[in-house]
Amino acid sequence: MIDTGNLWFIIITLGVGSFLLRFAFIGFIGDRPLPDWLLRHLRYTAVAVLPALVAPLVVFSDEGGSLDAARIGASVATVAAGMATKNLFAAIGAGAATLFTLMMLIG
């Protein structure tokens, strides 16, 4: 269960933090250019952090057994469809369809 006090601390800090990230340049920095190395790393944050968050959820799910095969299959289908079509909805559809189909077949 999520602790309420902690939840509010996270909501408010994330809100302030997100605003500061958005305001950083347009508000504070003005037209000064950013160092190359920093931009080069920032470019890859989303593609590094999001997969790192998902991978353990896919590989080490607590459910065990057949659901694991369904989850891994659904993950592969989602990524494959997303890379092939570059379309968010195609990827979600492929992932969800594979998850349900495999759960029914194996389960």
């Binding site: 996270i10 933090g17 950013l34 080069r40 593609v47 890379m83």
Partner: protein
């Protein structure tokens, strides 16, 4: 395209932003549902969506909070996922930097993937646009988008626990994240960054306090940046 007035720029922004309601709504809806399932009440869900307005960061925080992750890791991870908005801010500064501070502050609050992508493309294509016209266009793109985000979060929270338990909702989150990331795999550095991050996050899964996530994220970023640099040096 004739010289754009602020009014016509605003209308153009609204028109261009409208289709993206279809993209934003499912994310906010799912956030509302998952957050309610995790035990957040309607007021907490709405505050989250109003204060943060960042799908990936909200989902990341929600996932980690449920795993009893230390607060500092929740915050660092969620903000790291949202670092790209700082890049958007940097990219729009040459176009909007001369607008009044209060307008820039409002624009910063509404700086999301869609408003950035539309505005940057438009400003780049129409260099003669005045700063007020650019601001009007930017706010136009947000006019339908941001209320959609709030409304769909509300709908999701209201729907929340009414969904049948057979639906494997816990796995909606991984599918959502993978769907967001897969279309970003445009170049070799992107693929290497993701690959390195995945391998390290699995290898480091036993590190306590979800620190493995940060290690894997940083390693993935560095790998992507190095391959990027290598490709650039190799190019003639």
């Amino acid at each position: 395209m004739p010289a754009t007035t602020t009014k016509s720029a605003f209308r153009a922004g609204v028109r261009d932003g409208a289709p993206f309601m279809v993209v934003a709504a499912p994310f906010a809806l799912l956030f509302g549902v998952l957050a309610t399932e995790a035990g957040l009440n309607l007021f907490e869900v709405m505050s989250f969506s109003l204060v943060v307005i960042a799908g990936a960061a909200q989902f990341t925080a929600l996932q980690l909070m449920q795993n009893e992750t230390p607060t500092i890791i929740v915050l660092v991870s969620a903000l790291a996922v949202n670092l790209r908005v700082a890049m958007y801010s940097a990219a729009l500064t040459p176009y909007l930097g001369k607008a009044p501070l209060w307008q820039r502050a409002c624009a910063a609050y509404m700086l999301v993937d869609q408003s950035y992508a539309l505005s940057h493309a438009r400003f780049d294509a129409e260099p003669q646009m005045s700063v007020p016209a650019r601001m009007s266009y930017f706010f136009g793109t947000c006019t339908l988008l941001i209320p959609t985000w709030y409304a769909a979060s509300f709908a999701g929270a209201a729907l929340g626990t009414a969904l049948p338990p057979q639906i494997p909702l816990d796995f909606a989150l991984p599918i959502m994240f993978l769907s967001m990331v897969a279309p970003m795999m445009r170049t070799l550095p992107h693929i290497v960054a993701a690959g390195v991050a995945v391998v390290i996050s699995i290898a480091a899964a036993s590190i306590p306090y979800s620190l493995g996530l940060l290690v894997a994220g940083i390693a993935g970023m560095m790998a992507g940046a190095q391959v990027d640099l290598w490709l650039e040096r190799r190019a003639p």
